[in-house]
């Protein structure tokens, strides 16, 4: 098996930086095939944002990042990033990424608005899907 060039965390950071740079095609290329299918080949930012209102603004969730963790099991990885939201309140993000064609791609993201910093996870946690 050929290993992915970037780690899941690196992939997620590239996903965020491409969103910040309005590089929608790069952001879309880092979505899982399942998510890309939802866009129905319309890769405009407007369609991306209306289809995935949370993912399309993922780069704005945390204004400050403190700790990040990742766990990889075969072709599935979960990352957890702790930090502060725009209001300075503790927030944690859990992301599940899949290894598709040797690239870690974003499949699911959960934002947790926490009450206290003591609630920060101390390890990578896979998102609770709904």
């Amino acid at each position: 098996m050929i290993e992915s060039e970037q780690s899941p965390l690196e992939s997620y950071h590239i996903f965020n930086s491409s969103l910040a740079a309005s590089n929608v095609s790069q952001s879309v290329s880092l979505l899982s095939k399942r998510n890309r299918g939802e866009l129905k080949q319309n890769y405009s930012y407007e369609n991306f944002k209306s289809t995935f209102p949370v993912l399309a603004t993922a780069h704005k969730i945390l204004s400050v990042q403190s700790h990040e963790y990742q766990i990889i099991e075969d072709e599935v990885a979960c990352i957890t990033i702790n930090g502060l939201d725009s209001g300075g309140e503790p927030t944690s993000i859990n992301v599940e990424l899949l290894d598709e064609d040797q690239v870690w791609v974003v499949d699911y993201l959960q934002v947790l608005y926490l009450e206290k910093e003591t609630e920060y996870p101390q390890a990578a946690i896979c998102p609770n899907r709904m």
Partner: protein, 142 residues
């Protein structure tokens, strides 16, 4: 994407809509000692249910301010200390993400705010009453 305060305000608005639909049963459910929950489906159909009964309502108005269409929502409520109710709300706006927030509120303050003049004014204006939103934000914790 909705921020923390907007998500908490949405929780309050959902209770308010249930209250405006069935005052008696909503008060009975939220004042009961047992756990209760609100479930929302992708068509915006919502239900507030507990051991003492159920109130069905449309949730669209609660999400109007957020500006995103709900795909699924679940709010679990449990009794806390001194009349406080603890809750964990999870809202999903697509098949790829959800937002979860926990908090607590004073059940009597919530019910009184919804039977008071502010709430009536808010309903008259279909939720466009800024002062009422501020009151709800204080109740839900900023």
């Amino acid at each position: 994407m909705p921020n923390r305060v907007e998500v908490k305000l949405t929780v309050a608005k959902l209770i308010e809509i249930a209250y405006s639909k069935d005052k008696g049963m909503t008060a009975k459910i939220v004042r009961s000692k047992g756990d209760f929950k609100i479930s929302i489906d992708q068509d915006g159909n919502a239900s507030l249910s507990g051991t003492v009964g159920i109130v069905a309502f449309k949730s669209d108005e609660a999400f109007r301010q957020i500006g995103a269409k709900i795909k699924k929502g679940t709010i679990l409520f449990s009794s806390g200390d001194e009349g406080e109710i603890n809750y964990t709300a999870s809202f999903s706006f697509s098949g790829a993400a959800n937002i979860t927030v926990s908090g607590s509120f004073d059940v009597e303050k919530m019910i009184l705010s919804c039977s008071g003049l502010l709430c009536q004014a808010a309903r008259a204006l279909k939720g466009k009453h800024a002062a009422y939103d501020e009151e709800l934000k204080n109740i839900m914790g900023r």
